[in-house]
Amino acid sequence: MSGVEYISPGSVAEAISALQAAGENGRLLAGGTDLLVQMRGGRAKPKVVIDLKAIPGIAAIREEASGFVIGAAASGATIGEHEALCKAWPGVVEAVNLIGSTQVQGRASLGGNLCNASPAADSVPALIAAGAVCVIAGPNGLREAPVESIQTGPGKTALAKDEVLVAFKLLKRAAQSGDAYLRLIPRTEMDIAVVGAAVSLTLDASGKCIAARVSVGAVAPTALLVEAAGAALVGSSFEEAALAKLEAAVAAACKPISDKRGTIEYRTKVAAVLARRAALIARDRAQGAAS
């Protein structure tokens, strides 16, 4: 780690220039909870570290008429303390807050969790289920892209080398909507998800599901948006048959590997279980059972 230059640009434009200047040797720093571990382990050897946190607003959460704008460098702790966001998107917040320990929550950012591009990133299935959109800055201005389009494989993203993820947009919640995220880890805390599942849905006045998105993590090279699983819920009132269909759709979508954290069989089975459980929690939240 000798001779690593640290710079702290004051604007997105400066960050992009720094990124362009550094080329292959540059790495963006938000919370640092992945980057520092990689640098220490020798898996990342940047010569320039570009800290985004001095950019105004990049670590903040804004509530607008259309919804929420969460700065890419906003920490888990900041997100967990935002009452309106917690009320509107409890599933997204609980997913973010599952990343690492209390200590990690003080640093780890939503943008970092996505751009680190781990298949097991906890916040990503929840953001995908929520239909979150990324705001990305590049040399030619801003563009927007759905979260599910960002990760392209383990450690790989669709961002260009000189692009900076600056924020996430979450829409204002429709009435009778809810979301939830569940993950399976062997311990109660501190582990990487063996499987993660998120569901976001909207009910009509009768309690019937009229919209649903289901996403699962750690069961494929990237988090998956399982459209068939969402479709299984739409039109149902969460009858056993609909839930079974949801489970089957999730299981069918899983393309996991067996590794030190889980087996193919286990991940597939439990992804379905967690998706069903998350769906029921999301339904209860939509019905206001919790509030």
Binding site: G3, E5, Y6, L29, R40, T102, Q103, G106, E189
Partner: protein, 162 residues
């Protein structure tokens, strides 16, 4: 070497040190400032032995770069006692024998302080989940959790108007 001057407030005192972009805050605290009370157990944010409080937030000093400390207020174990008077947490850890080897203790104390700073009356479950990032291999956590809960009670008592 790409080292820059970092100015920060550590335990209430202004400090100035050279920090590199490849150097963690933990290394800076231990090697530059010789504040060796903050321990390294893993260097990857998994054990919590290097827990410090930065601008009111609990963090692992190993997961923060030294230059990121610029302008920050940092609290370490060396600043927990107030002019030689032990913090109620320190007092309870001793009373309850909540440490055996004592290596994870500085991190546990800082994490516990951060908890009680924002939640003066935590439940046992809240204490356990808050401290899940602080691994202790000696105690099985029983006495640690009791010490934190009792220190919380002591602090609430102190806060009460007499």
């Amino acid at each position: 070497m790409s080292r820059t001057v970092v100015n920060a407030i550590v335990n209430g005192e202004p400090v100035e040190f050279l920090g590199g972009g490849g150097q963690s805050l933990l290394d800076a605290l231990r090697d530059e400032l010789r504040l060796t009370g903050t321990k390294e157990g893993c260097g990857t944010g998994d054990c919590g032995a290097c827990s410090v409080i930065v601008d009111g937030r609990l963090v692992c000093a190993c997961l923060m770069l030294a230059p990121e400390a610029e302008g920050k207020r940092i609290e370490t174990i060396e600043g927990l006692a107030d002019n030689g008077h032990l913090h109620p947490l320190q007092h309870q850890f001793l009373e309850q024998a909540a440490l055996q080897c004592g290596f994870c203790t500085p991190g546990l104390l800082m994490a516990s302080k951060a908890l009680l700073d924002r939640n003066p009356d935590p439940t046992e479950t809240e204490v356990r989940y808050w401290l899940a990032g602080n691994i202790c291999r000696c105690t099985g956590y029983d006495k640690v959790v009791r010490a934190v809960m009792d220190a919380a009670a002591d602090l609430r008592q102190e806060e009460k108007p007499k």
